[in-house]
């Protein structure tokens, strides 16, 4: 049984909307968690501004732990937590919880690597000027690494687009859900092709925007 793409179009639009919401909300929450954790990883490490070996090692282990669980398993494993946090374990809102747990630690690592690119000499110069650790974080580390952070967040966003497709598993909806439900399970190849093309398009747009924004951030 074939579906007419044009008749099906409203359903596709809704799926695009769901994908964008899932990715957008997860990205914002994950960044709010991941960026401070990334900063913490850099400043608490050996020789860092606020060196704290125990904290650094503990945080590192926790981040590695979450990063080692495959997303599809994380999705199911934390269903009780999801139910506790958003009141339900199905739907778009429910998909945000595992997506955040998946990409927050990932963003922490990405931000860490961006901040490590900041030349130690620049940090030392700020210290020599009498800047406090907070001033160095906000006025040296972040602005100097911003261009690289933006590029890395673009990578994280594209990762989220991919992961959000799997979130269809918990009824999260979105383009991935559509592709699986119609294209894969009901052999409607044209729906499959359209959704995949749309995902390709989203990824291209995200990457282009990321590149442009990153370039802008090189000179503030």
């Amino acid at each position: 049984m074939q579906v007419n793409i044009l008749e099906f179009w409203p359903r596709i639009l809704q799926a695009i909307n769901e994908t964008l919401i899932m990715v957008g909300v997860s990205l914002v929450v994950a960044a709010l968690i991941g960026i401070p954790l990334g900063i913490a990883l850099v400043v608490t490490r050996q020789g860092g501004l606020l060196q704290n070996n125990a904290f650094f090692k503990g945080l590192s282990v926790v981040i590695n732990f979450f990063r080692s669980i495959p997303f599809i398993i994380l999705l199911v494993a934390i269903l009780p937590l999801t139910r506790f946090l958003v009141g339900t374990s199905i739907g778009t809102a429910a998909a945000v919880v595992p997506l955040v747990l998946f990409s927050g630690p990932y963003i922490a690592r990405l931000v860490e690597s961006s901040l490590l690119e900041v030349k130690p000499g620049v940090v030392e110069a700020a210290e020599a000027m009498g800047a406090s650790p907070w001033q160095i974080i906000l006025r040296v580390y972040v602005p100097e690494a911003l261009s690289s952070i933006v590029l890395n967040l673009t990578i994280a966003t594209i990762g989220l687009v991919g992961a959000s497709a799997m979130a269809g598993f918990v009824g999260g909806g979105g383009l991935g859900d559509l592709a699986i439900a119609y294209g894969y399970q009901r052999f409607e190849t044209d729906i499959m092709i359209v959704t995949v093309l749309l995902l390709v398009l989203i990824v291209q747009i995200v990457q282009t925007l990321g590149n442009v924004l990153s370039k802008k951030m090189r000179r503030q």
Binding site: V122, E124, A125, M129, A131, P143, R219, Q220
Partner: protein
């Protein structure tokens, strides 16, 4: 102004102790440009970082204007650091910010009102000659211009002390000269005390009043530039001086001496101060039965004082030569040169 009293810094590395700075005693006066010279690994980079406590000393005391920074609270230390400017070999500017923002940075973090910052930035940029570059980014500037930005940034808080960490080592000779002249102007106009570390004897000769030579964490010799150049004691010091004063006799001249079967009466004569201007050798030639053959020489200026070295060969009978030497030694310092050793 800055006093090092038996200061040492020990690093632990794989259970081994590394003495980066070892029992250093230096006293730097107000308004002085003090140089610390040494090869890489001599401990000079660590030494300069002990002044503003970027490195914590393992022993001894460092007093800055009589104050021991290691006894200050963290906010107290930050406040003190604002009175100590620092410039670096690789400039360490914020690449993402304009020249203007970079120079303003120390005032921004002190919470200075914007209007005041703007006026002060204009002042220091004018001083370093970069007024027209205010809205450019560091990557658009040459090395010398970047260091000028570094200097402007260090001066903006009107510090009492300027620390220079290999400030000219990444620059070409021409630019080095202009940056050194700028540092001299900084001292002359603001009466700053400057501590500069370097491995270039040229930089030291150009601007320093006094210098300490470091090796293996220790100060092996210190004194005025003049004392050091005219009478170096330690082999390392001599090495550094040789890097700017061609005091080795070129091989072509040496082999010339050997060919003539001479070389028995070759001397290195060091002139200092007004003696550099005295016609000693023409007097020798007139008063003794000796001929003077100048093989090699160089006369330069140190701290505005003439300073020179000549390698001469004295020809004549041994007895006359001894008498002539005796005469020369009354006015200047003389050292015999071995033909094979140079």
């Amino acid at each position: 102004m800055i006093q090092f009293e038996n200061v040492s810094k020990v690093y632990e590395h794989n259970g081994k102790e590394l003495r980066a700075v070892d029992g250093v005693d230096i006293s730097i006066e107000k308004g002085e440009i003090f140089g610390v010279i040494g090869f890489s690994g001599a401990g000079k980079s660590t030494l300069v970082r002990l002044v503003n406590l970027l490195e914590q000393p393992s022993g001894g005391n460092i007093l800055v204007e009589g104050e021991d920074l290691s006894r200050l609270s963290k906010p107290g230390l930050r406040k003190m650091r604002k009175r100590i400017g620092m410039i670096f070999q690789h400039f360490n500017l914020l690449e993402s910010k304009t020249v203007l923002h970079n120079v303003a940075f120390p005032l921004i973090i002190s919470g200075t009102p914007k209007k005041k910052i703007k006026a002060r930035v204009e002042e220091v940029l004018d001083f370093v000659g970069l007024t027209d570059k205010a809205h450019q980014y560091p990557e658009e500037l040459s090395g010398g211009q970047k260091q000028r930005v570094g200097i402007a940034r260090a001066l903006i808080t009107s510090p009492d002390i300027l620390l220079c960490d290999e400030a000219t080592s990444a620059l070409d000779p021409e630019t080095t000269k202009s940056i050194l002249q700028l540092l001299k102007r900084v001292r002359d106009e603001y009466n700053l005390t400057i501590l500069m570390i370097t491995h270039e004897m040229n930089a030291v000769r150009e601007v320093c009043d006094r210098v300490a030579v470091m090796e293996n964490g220790r100060v092996i010799e210190q004194g005025s530039i003049f004392e050091l150049f005219s009478n170096p004691q330690h082999p390392t010091t001599k090495n550094f001086i040789q890097s700017v004063m061609e005091s080795d006799i070129p091989p072509s001249i040496l082999s010339g001496i050997e060919e003539r079967g001479g070389g028995r009466h070759v001397y290195r004569v060091t002139f200092v101060r007004e003696k550099a201007a005295q016609p000693i050798f023409s007097q020798v030639a007139k008063n003794y039965q000796v001929e003077v053959n100048v093989l090699f020489g160089q006369i330069t200026e140190l701290q505005g004082i003439p300073f020179g070295q000549l390698v001469v060969e004295l020809l004549g009978e041994d007895r006359e030569i001894v008498r002539a030497l005796d005469y020369i030694q009354r006015t200047v310092s003389v050292q015999e040169v071995e033909a094979d050793a140079g």
